[in-house]
């Protein structure tokens, strides 16, 4: 048994050394495709986090004109508080102009043009309203009533934004999934080709092995190990890349700490889970690709 294992390992590494260029190409392709697969997972997770947060959070924002009087604002607040069956009055939040501006500064940090148009004086203050009614038409009805109130500038429904984000996220989900599948197929193809080349270079050896009575598995295993290693190394590189991408992303999102965008951060536990999946996919794709290639060339 020990002799077989040491033989398989020796052959695997010798073969990897012999085809450095092809091996490198196969590893890089699998790394890139796996990185894309991983990114797909993380992007999806980030959007899901954001959508979940929005769903359970603010769904209605009542913007108050910047020139509204204190009485008018009080009137709006009283009207909102008189609807405990539709909205969660305990989570009703009023952001005055200074607070609204602070939020806008963060939201539009990357968009100085828009920010320049806003000042703490002209920005509308806002009530953030969390509905509790399940029926969204009830919420809309209420919103329409508030639009009529003096001092109210606009009523915005998070549902609208939610729908847009949902659609965008759906599109990204499909696009990235399709791309990663295509790249994964390419990676398997490259691994297949590397193994085929390796086997062609050693066809004489394989012929002798078959004639002296080596089993097909004995011949196949070093090649499958080689493919598995290529996929696995690709997976490790992809994990490194994913970790780098995610920490850069988390760092960037950190600047929006107290806005909804903070929900775009993906937890470390989930990232580790995705990495494990990438390693598994890499190893499996490599082993299967090379196993098929090896089987095809064993009919001596």
């Amino acid at each position: 048994m020990l002799a077989r294992i040491s033989y398989a390992l020796r052959e695997t590494f010798a073969s990897l050394r012999r085809n450095v260029t092809l091996t490198a190409a196969a590893i890089v392709t699998s790394a890139v495709s796996l990185l894309l697969v991983g990114s797909t997972f993380l992007i999806q997770r980030a959007f899901d986090n954001l959508l979940t947060r929005w769903k359970g959070d603010v769904e209605l924002i009542v913007y108050i004109r910047s020139d509204a009087s204190v009485e008018q604002i009080q009137l709006v607040e009283d009207a909102l508080r008189s609807q405990p069956s539709v909205i969660d009055v305990d989570r009703l939040r009023y952001l005055d102009q200074a607070e609204s501006y602070a939020e806008a500064e963060k939201l539009f940090a990357g968009d100085p043009g828009t920010l320049r148009l806003l000042t703490p004086e002209n920005i509308p203050s806002q009530f953030k309203v969390v509905p509790i009614a399940e029926d969204s038409s009830l919420v809309r009805e209420l919103g329409e009533q508030f639009r009529q109130l003096a001092g109210v500038k606009e009523v915005a429904y998070a549902q609208d934004v939610f729908d847009v984000v949902s659609r965008v996220s759906q599109f990204i989900r499909v696009a990235t999934t399709a791309m990663s599948i295509i790249l994964l197929v390419v990676a398997v193809g490259l691994i297949w080709n590397t193994i085929r080349t390796a086997m062609f270079a050693r066809r004489r050896e394989i012929e002798v092995m078959k004639l002296v009575g080596a089993t097909n598995w004995f011949i196949r295993i070093p090649f499958m190990l080689e493919g598995l290693l290529q996929g696995l190394i690709g997976g490790v590189l992809a994990c490194g890349g994913l970790w780098g991408l995610n920490s850069a992303w988390s760092g960037a999102v950190d600047d929006f700490n107290d806005t909804e965008l903070a929900a775009l951060v993906v937890s470390d536990g989930y990232v580790s889970g995705v990495m494990l999946v990438l390693l598994l996919i890499g190893a499996l794709a490599g082993a299967v690709g090379s196993g098929i290639a090896a089987s095809r060339f064993l009919d001596v």
Binding site: M1, A3, V208, M209, V212, G213, A214, T215, N216
Partner: protein, 225 residues
């Protein structure tokens, strides 16, 4: 040891390699298969180690019909036979020792067995002092001895030889024949395809002559013709 019953094998509609061939080789015999190129000698050998399967008829080795052998059992059939070829089929990147050890290694023999058996068989073929050489550093006769050592190291019941003296000069070929004779004397059945008239006449063993896929002569202690 080996029995063929009404074996027919063709490679295409036009090329029929063997037509309804039947004969038997008892254990421990030394048999020459002779005949011109294309007469079916190599095909016979390839049927015996399951590199080919006949269309009709059956091939029996050591009491088993090997046509029915499942794919997974073929390696174990081949472990009971050694093969030598006109072109030796040595691995050029391995030393003499490694070439012979390879045959044991790939059937999973432990290292201490390899360390013990390889030098013994190299001694037998007269290459004990050349175990670290590479094939290109050896003469043709020496290379054929390495391939015989590789075929015999596992002590097979049967040795199949396809034109083993085809690339060698007469004196060297004679040395190879002496070696095969010695191996045969240990009880190993030897089947050798050849069209080397000289070695057949020298050995005076059973001769099975083929012509266009048919056995035209089967003679004890025969000569080439």
């Amino acid at each position: 040891m080996i029995r063929l019953e009404n074996v027919t094998k063709s490679y295409s509609a036009e090329v029929t390699a063997l037509r309804d061939v039947s004969f038997e080789i008892p254990k421990g015999e030394f048999v020459f298969l002779v005949g011109p190129s294309g007469s079916g000698k190599s095909t016979l050998l390839r049927l015996m180690n399951r590199q080919e399967v006949p269309e009709k008829g059956s091939v029996w080795v050591a009491g088993k019909n090997i046509n029915d052998l499942p794919e997974s059992k073929i390696p174990f059939l081949r472990r009971s036979m050694g093969n030598i070829f006109q072109d030796y089929k040595l691995l050029l990147n391995k030393t003499v020792f490694e070439n012979v050890a390879f045959a044991l290694e790939v059937i999973g023999r432990p290292r201490h067995v390899i360390r013990q058996q390889v030098p013994a068989v190299l001694e037998l073929v007269g290459l004990a002092d050349k175990s670290d050489r590479f094939p290109h550093q050896l003469s043709g006769g020496e290379q054929q001895r390495v391939s015989i050592a590789r075929a015999f190291v596992n002590r097979p019941l049967i040795l199949l030889a396809d034109e083993p003296t085809g690339n060698l000069d007469p004196t060297t070929g004679e040395g190879i024949m002496r070696l095969l004779e010695r191996i045969n004397s240990t009880g190993t059945t030897v089947v050798m395809a050849t069209h080397d008239t000289r070695v057949v006449n020298m050995m005076r063993r059973r001769v099975v002559q083929l012509d266009r896929g048919i056995i035209v002569r089967d003679q004890e202690r025969g000569v080439y013709d």
